[in-house]
Point group: C2
Chain length 306, copies 2
Amino acid sequence: MMKRDILISEVGPRDGLQSIKTVMPLAQKKAWISALAASGLREIEVGSFVPAHVLPQLADTAEVVAHALTIPDLTVAVLVPNLRGAEAALSAGAHKLTIPFSASETHSLKNVRRTHAQMFDEVRGIVALLKAHAGKRPTLEGGLSTAFGCTYEGVVPADKVVRLAAQLCEAGCDEVGLADSVGFANPAQVRDLVVRVRAVTGEKKFAGLHLHNTRGLGLANVVAGLDVGVNTFDSSMAGIGGCPFAPGATGNIVTEDLVFMLESMGLHTGVDLDKLLEARKVLAAAVPHEELYGYVPAAGVPGVRA
Amino acid sequence: MMKRDILISEVGPRDGLQSIKTVMPLAQKKAWISALAASGLREIEVGSFVPAHVLPQLADTAEVVAHALTIPDLTVAVLVPNLRGAEAALSAGAHKLTIPFSASETHSLKNVRRTHAQMFDEVRGIVALLKAHAGKRPTLEGGLSTAFGCTYEGVVPADKVVRLAAQLCEAGCDEVGLADSVGFANPAQVRDLVVRVRAVTGEKKFAGLHLHNTRGLGLANVVAGLDVGVNTFDSSMAGIGGCPFAPGATGNIVTEDLVFMLESMGLHTGVDLDKLLEARKVLAAAVPHEELYGYVPAAGVPGVRA
């Protein structure tokens, strides 16, 4: 494997915080995001423009974006479920918008009450909005959720995911990513689906992988992604959020463990693990009653034991 | 990746039980091993022939072997630290003996109070013993522990591991395996070291990988091993034993998660996951105060949620 540069997109402030009960106060969010950026993370998904009654944890996303924009060289990403969310994101000045698009139409209907046809309308509306924007245009990613399977539909055929990826590009998305929202993916499937999807999106428009560790295969799936050339991975500090199951069955893959693995393999993330563990302390202090995951924070990095 | 057959060598009754405080009574060990074999596991390391005062948890290994030998089509493996242990294993009738040989000489001295030269004497003594044996000769594996790093020496040079592997073959070992005893390995290192070691042992004499999940990279390292053709992996039910760290920082890789991953990838382990989870219940009942690990036992297999 060649030495190469890997982008880690930290999604803890969005995917993590939306999944835990604690509502983190704005001041702590700002401090945490600053600490994350100080560790060398170059992209952070800082929130989601959804109605406050749906996700009260993320009601202050506009203020969070405003703070994140003051951090030099940081790509400030947000999630937008629809055109209205995109308008808010555009006003706030986010650099990157991701619209989640569930490959499972059943999940799409249950989650956002929209068919695939309605979701494509939403995407085209956002694309038109961004095109009409006078200032520097933010990037739009179509995030194909449940791409590796769905708890409502079970298997989601790869052909369908490939077709949707092509249609998202046609609709005007700058990038398309694949999300294993419910932790169904295995390494063979990751290799297969990435290769097939990238064949229709092209290298440049493939946004990367968003993996969950529900069944403990998160980092194994990263290795499979690396094998087929994936260079961008989402992860969440301390693996917070995401899973209603027993201890150990975490949500997102853990940023700390991911950084350790990639750097150990001789890849370059730009992240300083010591500083990342400092940022974890900021998180721990802000959500003292939430369970934090991660093997490397518990075991430390390999080395001679004093 | 081609459909291929993977051998999982279950080491819970040895590596797991030696690392926990609970001494499992003989009757429960028998029941657990029978349940493990009933799930389709074809090789189980059932104990270790070490003095009872060193490891009281494994003092009944001869009786455990006698029971395991009554199970059809099961390879009964044991660990032997020296010639005396090998004599006991031979008397007991074990099919396979593994002598741990620490690539780190400091670790070897601290652990078994022997230099590498003394360890090679031990290996040659065992080889002579086995050659002189009248009955069906058991297999002897040299298990290169701390092959990926050591808590005393830190980095263990790959060249040294390769040289030791060649010398173990020359000394008469039937197979040589690589163990990441302290959880230092990363996927790039696994690929590199396996390829280099197998170049000197040959395909047939490469015994496989014994991985720990201390830093959460266990299954990622399995994927790396699969990539370079490894077909045998040690693992431990519920990941019991092995680690003095915080919750989540487990010992061996978890058999249940390993079986799930391999079968999901379309590989063939011969293990029935439902029956494996039945065997986990036998273990849980026998060691009620020990922490059991594993993501798949907690989250279940992927599927449509009722």
